[in-house]
């Protein structure tokens, strides 16, 4: 008999909205998560290209030179895979569960979705950032006149920086939960292996992007 579940299991279903923001992988993984994640990544790359907002490393957000769309797509793909590979190796060594690579690929792709918000805010902040960049020499002199001229823009740039930091923290939390759920790794070994994998990913992705895309 299929298609029925006991009352006990039905009641246990998590349904809170916060679950979708902080741990969507309880409900979404595998191919579905991968498809949605890839759509978000394509959107992030598009908005990044429009706002010159480069995600030039797993945890890096920078405004840079204009570049073709494919370069922003490649940045996203490098960031995604440079974390998936060390996490998969860690899970292979540590997990006692029969986890699936598609779950790790899908949930890690979905974990990058907050970067879409960064690129939206980046696009909105673009004029302010351009003005600050153009006047960077006079700002560095720290004269009251120079600072007064770009006061609002400096506020916007600072707010963008703080906002980006919060988004990055949120993204890291999603990345960790993706790893813990997809590969069924728990406790200190999950935290330590995630941190090591993240450091490898940060170093690796920044190196690859700087060396092959932005040089």
């Amino acid at each position: 008999m299929m298609g029925e579940i006991s009352e006990s299991n039905r009641i246990k279903q998590p349904h809170a909205l916060r679950l979708w923001f902080f741990n969507p992988f309880v409900k979404l993984a595998g191919v579905n998560a991968l498809m949605i994640g890839l759509i978000f990544m394509a959107g992030t790359a598009l908005l990044g290209a429009l706002g010159n907002c480069h995600l030039d490393g797993v945890l890096n957000v920078h405004f840079g030179n204009p570049a073709p769309y494919w370069q922003f797509v490649l940045e996203m793909l490098i960031n995604w895979l440079s974390l998936v590979i060390p996490l998969a190796i860690s899970a292979r060594l540590l997990s006692r569960s029969s986890w699936r690579v598609i779950d790790l690929l899908g949930t890690q792709a979905l974990a990058l979705w907050p970067y879409l918000i960064v690129t939206v805010i980046g696009l909105i902040s673009k004029p302010a950032i351009q003005k600050v960049t153009e006047n960077i020499d006079s700002i560095m002199k720290n004269t009251p006149e120079a600072l007064q001229a770009v006061k609002t823009e400096l506020f916007i740039v600072t707010a963008f920086g703080i906002f980006s930091l919060l988004i990055i923290i949120w993204t890291v939390m999603l990345m960790y939960r993706s790893y813990a759920i997809s590969c069924n790794v728990k406790g200190p070994k999950a935290i330590i292996s995630f941190i090591v994998s993240l450091i490898i990913a940060i170093t690796g992705s920044s190196f690859i992007i700087q060396k092959f895309l932005l040089s």
Binding site: M1, M2, G3, E4, I5, S6, E7, S8, N9, R10, K12, Q13, P14, F25, V26, K27, L28, A29, G30, A33, R96, S97, S98, W99, R100, D103, T107, I181, S182, C183, N184
Partner: protein, 98 residues
């Protein structure tokens, strides 16, 4: 129906069945019988196992029915397997009088 206690409230050791009674003829059987390992699981875990069997042992089907992701359901099953192993070990140790 009362909840079946499976561990001793005083020392937490696994409980055994001492008396069985036929409801029809009131025949009583006295002895020492072990509870099945599945009975030592929580009602939620037992419900999960029943649903799993009804889904023909398909985690994908379970994930659909519970509206949860595949790894979430698989992790839950792994946890139950661990609890069954622990319960089995406790039964063996109890049998050996440890």
């Amino acid at each position: 129906m009362k909840k079946l206690p499976t561990t001793c409230p005083a020392c937490s050791s696994p409980l055994q069945i001492k008396n069985l009674i036929c409801r029809e003829c009131d025949t009583g059987i006295h002895g020492q019988f072990e509870l099945p390992v599945l009975a030592s699981l929580s009602p939620d875990d037992q419900a999960f196992i029943l649903d799993f069997l009804k889904s023909s042992g398909s985690l994908k089907e379970m994930a659909k029915l519970l509206r949860l992701s595949y790894p979430t359901v698989r992790n839950r099953l792994d946890e139950i397997i661990e609890r069954i192993k622990t319960a089995e070990t406790a039964v063996i140790e109890n049998r050996e009088g440890k």
